[in-house]
């Protein structure tokens, strides 16, 4: 698995330590496209927006890269899921905004030059 900050690029091997249900849950929570690899070897790429493991026949639902869907795939048909798309929640727009504000403040101060020394200190 990746460092935990994002699952982008994760290609789990389903097995003892990594159950399929857990990978599906992570794919459901992931804000990027994934590649669902089916047991017959075929692949579906898109955004996995729903999963229901309590249904009589547990399934996931996806919209493909064109936005077509929902495409339903049963849990039993899934071999693994690869986290192939960009994690859209991983970017930090707030941190970028703070950096930009700091940079603007610094630029203003540089333009004005150093603060004048007060007469009391003179």
């Amino acid at each position: 698995m990746t460092d935990g900050a994002t699952l982008e690029g994760w290609t789990p091997e389903i097995g003892k330590g990594v159950p399929l249900e857990e990978v599906i849950d992570k794919a459901f929570d992931y804000r990027g496209n994934v590649t669902v690899v089916k047991t017959d070897g075929s692949e579906t790429v898109g955004y996995l927006f729903n999963r229901d493991r309590d249904a009589a026949v547990p399934f996931v639902q996806m919209f493909d890269l064109d936005g077509t869907g929902p495409i339903s795939i049963q849990y039993a048909e899934i071999r693994t899921i690869r986290f192939t798309g960009r994690d859209t929640a991983a970017g930090n727009s707030y941190a970028a905004w703070l950096r930009a504000k700091e940079a603007a403040k610094f630029a203003r101060q540089t333009e004005k030059g150093p603060e004048p020394t007060s007469s009391r200190d003179a």
Binding site: N50, F63, L65, G85, R86, A89, W97
Partner: protein, 340 residues
């Protein structure tokens, strides 16, 4: 009192009808999200982080109306995304007003002036713009991560008021909010002539860019107590006074997640507007198959522990008003005196 009498009566009679019918779970406000696209990327928002093909998707007007007809609440709130970017927003609002639904169009107002000038909307007692403003200029522009948005929003508000529209504001408060500046903000909004204000603490979306400034319960109580303990008579709030008392720690409610159900391009969102635990194809399926006992503070669900957001607790406050004489008395008292 800032909610018009006709709207109050519509909601009161609806709630009483539900109670007389013995319905345990009923919707008050449908949160209708026709799209996730937005022209801002606010620090505290977890609604817009999706791949491109999802951001391009939008509901049809027919899908929106089918959802409204199935759910049949007295109030429809249209958030998003930015609903003024939805190409069919004019016809959608018109159709909802024709159904006598009280509609709140939740907008950042960047496009408001332009859409008003294009003649997209008509004033109605059923229709209100709910403009997102998280404070005065500096605070709001910081919250939305862009300079100049406050000025645009205020220009949009003035234009809407000039044209005879109902205008309210909605403000989300985060840790570090300055109570004195917010009180100044309330004065400014009243000076502008808005009908009423809505306030709520932010929810800690796991996908939001800023994870450090969400309010925890005690800090929220402290902040809202400072903010509202000595309210000015001229301040009007477009929400239940009992919800405001709840924010101050004077009332204790359990969450009512089905009170503000959410419908968007994925379907009916489980269990609420804030948490995404899955989707149901119909409202009936949402009500019948969601494990409601797993949500709210008493469930022990960690995701619900610090949540005090209006979409879960405002319906609880309204429910409380009509569940006991004490609730009714508290609501009337706060409404008449303007004190919380």
């Amino acid at each position: 009192m800032s909610v018009p009498l006709s709207q109050m009566w519509a909601i009161a009679s609806y709630v009483i009808r539900q109670k007389l019918a013995g319905r345990k779970r009923y919707p008050l406000v449908l949160m209708l999200e026709p799209l996730f696209r937005c022209n801002l990327a606010c620090a505290g928002c977890g609604k817009i982080q999706y791949p491109a093909q999802i951001l391009r998707k939008q509901l049809t007007v027919e899908q929106c109306l089918a959802a409204v007809d199935e759910c049949d609440p007295p109030v429809v709130s249209i958030p998003g995304g930015e609903p003024l970017m939805y190409p069919h927003i004019g016809p959608l609002v018109k159709a909802l007003v024709a159904r006598r639904k009280y509609v709140y169009l939740c907008t950042n107002a960047i496009l408001l002036k332009e859409k008003l000038e294009a003649g997209l909307f008509e004033p109605s007692k059923y229709f209100s713009f709910s403009v997102h403003l998280d404070g005065l200029r500096a605070e709001h522009d910081e919250a939305v991560c862009r300079d100049g948005v406050y000025v645009d929003a205020v220009a949009g508000i003035k234009e809407a008021l000039r044209r005879g529209f109902r205008v309210t504001t909605n403000s989300t408060l985060f840790d570090g909010a300055d109570a004195l500046r917010m009180r100044e903000f309330f004065d400014t909004m009243m000076d502008l002539g808005v009908e009423g204000m809505m306030i709520s603490p932010g929810y800690s979306y796991s996908k939001a860019p800023d994870q450090e400034h969400f309010l925890r319960t005690q800090r929220a109580h402290d902040l809202f107590s400072t903010l509202l303990s000595n309210p000015k008579r001229r301040w009007k709030f477009n929400q239940s006074p009992l919800f405001l008392q709840f924010l101050m720690g004077k009332q204790d409610f359990e969450c009512t997640p089905w009170g503000n159900p959410t419908y968007n391009v994925f379907g009916w969102q489980r269990p609420c507007y804030l948490l995404q635990e899955g989707y149901a194809a119909t409202f009936k399926e949402l009500l019948e198959t969601t494990r409601w006992e797993n949500y709210g503070r008493s469930s022990g669900n960690e995701k619900c522990r610090d949540c005090m957001v209006h979409c879960g607790y405002e319906p609880s406050a309204v429910h409380h008003t009509f569940s006991s004489w004490r609730g009714f008395r508290d609501t009337v008292q706060a409404t008449v005196t303007g004190r919380f």
